[in-house]
Amino acid sequence: MRGAHVTFCILVLSSYGRAQTPVAPTTPDPVGPSRGDNWSGYNIVNSFETGDRFLSVSGNEDKYRSDENFGSGVRLFNSFFSMDSKNGHGKLFDQLVVTTNGLGGDPYQSVNLKVDKNKLYRYDFSWRKNDYFNPGLTTDGGAGQNLLNTTFTMQDHNLTLLPQSWIRFTLGYSRSSQSGAGLSAVQLYNVSGPDDATGNAFPVFTNVKRLQNDFRVGGEVHWLGFTLNWLRGWQNFKDDTPLQFSGSETGIGTPAGSGLLNSFQQAQANHGTSPYWQVGLFRDAHWINVNGRFTYTGGVRAFISNETAFGTNQFGALANQQIITAGDARRPVATGNLNVTILPTPKLTIASRTSVYNVRTEGNSAYLQYDNATQSTDLLYFQFLGIRTVATDLDAHYQVRSWLDVHGGYGYSNRQIGASPQFAFAGSTSGAPYLQTNTENSGIFGFRIRPLKGLTVMGDGEIGRASNPFTPKSDQNYHTISARIQYKLRNLQLNAQTKTDYNLNSVTLSSYSSHSRTYSGSADWSYKSWLTLNGTVSKLHLDTLGGIAFFAGPEFLPNQLSYYVSNLYSGTFSGRISMKRVDLFVGYSLIQDVGDGRNSATSTVVGPDLTAFQTAQTFPLKFQSPSARVSVRINERIRWNLGYQYFGYHESFFAGQNYLAHTGYTSLLWSF
């Protein structure tokens, strides 16, 4: 029996270590007695991995923080604790499981808790924290000004009462927050209101403060084979992020750099609630499955902001400016779904899905601008955006032979959009309402063959036509073709797949086409449970051709082309050897975009003869990360681990973002 447990542990081990990043924590390497310890009717299993992480970065550390963000210091890398009632009749609970990850300073931290008592309750809790750093990177020194150095924190509580009963109740609470420092920008000294392009943009500091609370209550009733599910929720949101600046800052605008900002303050409050509810009624029987759902989500945000700025405007005059905006926005969303699956024979499945959804976005914003040149602007805006979509599709899957399945289907979608842009409701001239309808028809087909035991070959395709796409990049005349081969034989698994996705969206003045092709392969192999090897390779190709129009200096260039090419190769490899006391892991990950094959930023390419566009049409880079780890079993309850991981990022056309990072850790994994 003990041998069986060792085998089980090794099986668990063999499934780990292939996601590549990060090299720490070491778990789920087992430590402690495999059977756990017994105490007062419970079986207890626990383990902790604690140690020190180190980091050395050369190059652009901000970019490293944006990509990986692992730092230095002592961490509780990972922990696991479980208590299981051995007879299923624990006093307060039958099972309690706690897991943690990255506590003590890692950028990605989490705690999960699960407690349940048979027939009485089940409680799930999760807490996550993410240190998010984004320097607003742009290419070629474009001075990205929207920097964020914030922390996301999220927690979820879900309590189910009477989880195995014919009627059960659920209570839930979620809390999400984002806080921290940031750098943003504000447009000032506009002459005639917010849509006037004469102003200058200035960088300003911000202190991000966002919070959302979500309360849920619901239940489920099973009766006569049907299940009725209902959920009522309330989301309360508030954003009280202020902006401020004091000093002397030159603006971005026209004429370039002529404005000056000496002081700026903006206080704002954006608060609101989004009540929602959902009702579902469904039944699964032997030959038919049917479910219907109706949801409604409201949404109201009330906002007000007050900002003052002092400085010199773009015309050289001293300027102080005050802007007050206030109003509210509303967006109710209603949906209905009806899904029916019929299995008239064991070989035939017919699935039908119909959905309707309706969205209305409306609101008003009063914008008042005062300045010291006696100008006063008072604008009232109202904007409406409504979307109504009806979609249905019907698929049939048929098993022709035991080794051959075929399927086909048809889909239809109809979407109506109504818009009243900048409709002024306070006595001003109304904006014209616009209505448009897009109809999309699509068909799918495919087959699945199993010519040999363990071997499956699949092919799928879809073709679709849309009558009135919303943007030049939306689906209009598209088709996809994909194929996959999968082979499984005991400890060996091989996969290969390819997919093409083409879309052509052509209009009179401009055309857009997108060609995406992906090719992937993977192999997993384990030998006698102590050697595991895994490798994957992928090529992701994308080329898009779109019509663009822009100003180059004073000249308007209306019929230009933007041709973007990406040829991205990816490879991962990992190997793991488990010996008597020592466990060794090595891994390697590579991402390389060779772009359109150019080795210099500027060249003769399809599109405008401007350096900025030529640089942006392809983006060759290389991102690689080798890693290695050794784990040594000191005794039954302690393992010692040592790991190293390297991150190398290199852009071919702009060296300012390149970095090299050496990370590693040493830790003890122990149980007590």
Binding site: Y16, T297, S365, G418, L568, A612
Partner: protein
């Protein structure tokens, strides 16, 4: 006028769903689930003799609950609850032909067996028509009932390794320089996807569901975490609501630090803002840039430098504040 039209449409949606459901309810009222055999049950105790390794740790298995209750019908509890009556199996001294062995079952009977108990959850209401089921991916492809390596949901492997086993391209996407932190353990695939099937999305053209969870019942999964992007805003950037976040972003990973579909900002904006065709909410083409935007100047190549509220604004139709 549009307000009234859309308000009525909301009411009609509910009416259609109720009417259609009433029709199917009649058919379902006479439909019955797959009944298990009535005889041949011997209880779980004899199983311990040969399958001690399974029984030894079975008290940690969520399915142990049915045994602990002690009042369930034989067909709904213990080993026989899933594997069927064991009398013939014991008489034959084992063998996979004399009992329900899931390693020998095809996808559909496997699903039927699990749904006998697990069909009563809204999260699994669409499992029969999910892409996984229609492609013969059944419960035991992802769940390992007796050799699970995860503390919840009896998964055969932990996420994302489980999903990467088939979704190879997604592994490459999550290896990009900038990505959602799935490999780091901060997120899971199931934070955004429902592997048991989902309802049609409320963005793009709806159509076939791609197994994406919906935040707040009917909104894009991204908005569950990116709370500041949700709005509503007095001035919404229409493609965000009409086409969804994927219009501009790769959700898994990208070479751009904002997960944009292009390495730089301005090309992605210009590809739509070209004034061509009948695109956009006014059907007159999506507006081009004003003369103030000299694209030879790097300061104008980072559109979001100034258009800081690009997802939606309460103060400015041009998303400047």
């Amino acid at each position: 006028m549009e307000n009234r039209y859309h308000a009525r449409a909301s009411q009609r949606i509910g009416l259609y769903v109720v009417q259609a459901f009433a029709f199917f309810s009649i058919a379902l009222a006479v439909a019955r689930g797959a009944d298990p055999p009535k005889t041949g049950y011997v209880g779980s105790n004899p199983c311990k003799t040969c399958h001690a390794d399974v029984w030894f740790k079975f008290y940690k298995n969520p399915h142990f609950k049915s045994i602990a209750i002690g009042k369930e019908e034989p067909a709904n509890t213990g080993c026989e609850g899933c594997h069927g009556p064991a009398e013939a199996h014991i008489k034959a001294h084992g063998g996979k032909a004399t009992i329900i062995a899931f390693s020998q079952l095809a996808a559909k009977p496997t699903l039927d067996a699990c749904l006998r108990c697990h069909s009563n959850s809204l999260n699994r209401a669409n499992i029969r028509s999910s892409q996984h089921t229609l492609n013969s991916v059944s419960c035991t492809n992802c769940h390992s009932i007796h050799k699970s390596s995860t503390p919840k949901f009896l998964l055969a492997k932990s996420q994302p390794e489980l999903c990467y086993g088939c979704h190879i391209t997604q592994r490459a996407q999550f290896s990009m320089p900038f990505k959602h932190r799935v490999n780091e353990g901060f997120m899971k695939c199931s934070d955004c996807h429902n592997p048991h099937g989902a309802n049609a999305p409320t963005w793009r053209m709806a159509g076939r569901p791609s197994m994406i969870n919906q935040a707040s019942g009917n909104e894009e999964a991204c908005l569950g975490c990116h709370i500041d992007k949700r709005g509503p805003f007095a001035f919404e950037h229409p493609p965000v609501r009409v086409e969804g976040c994927e219009m501009c972003h790769y959700p898994h990973g990208s070479t751009n630090s904002r997960l944009l579909r292009r390495p730089v900002v301005f090309t992605i904006c210009l590809e739509c803002h070209n004034g061509a065709g009948t695109f956009g909410r006014t059907k007159t083409g999506i507006p081009t840039l004003s003369a103030a935007h000299n694209m030879t100047d790097p300061r104008y190549q980072n559109c979001t430098n100034c258009h800081v509220r690009i997802h939606g604004s309460n103060s400015d139709p041009l998303f400047l504040r």
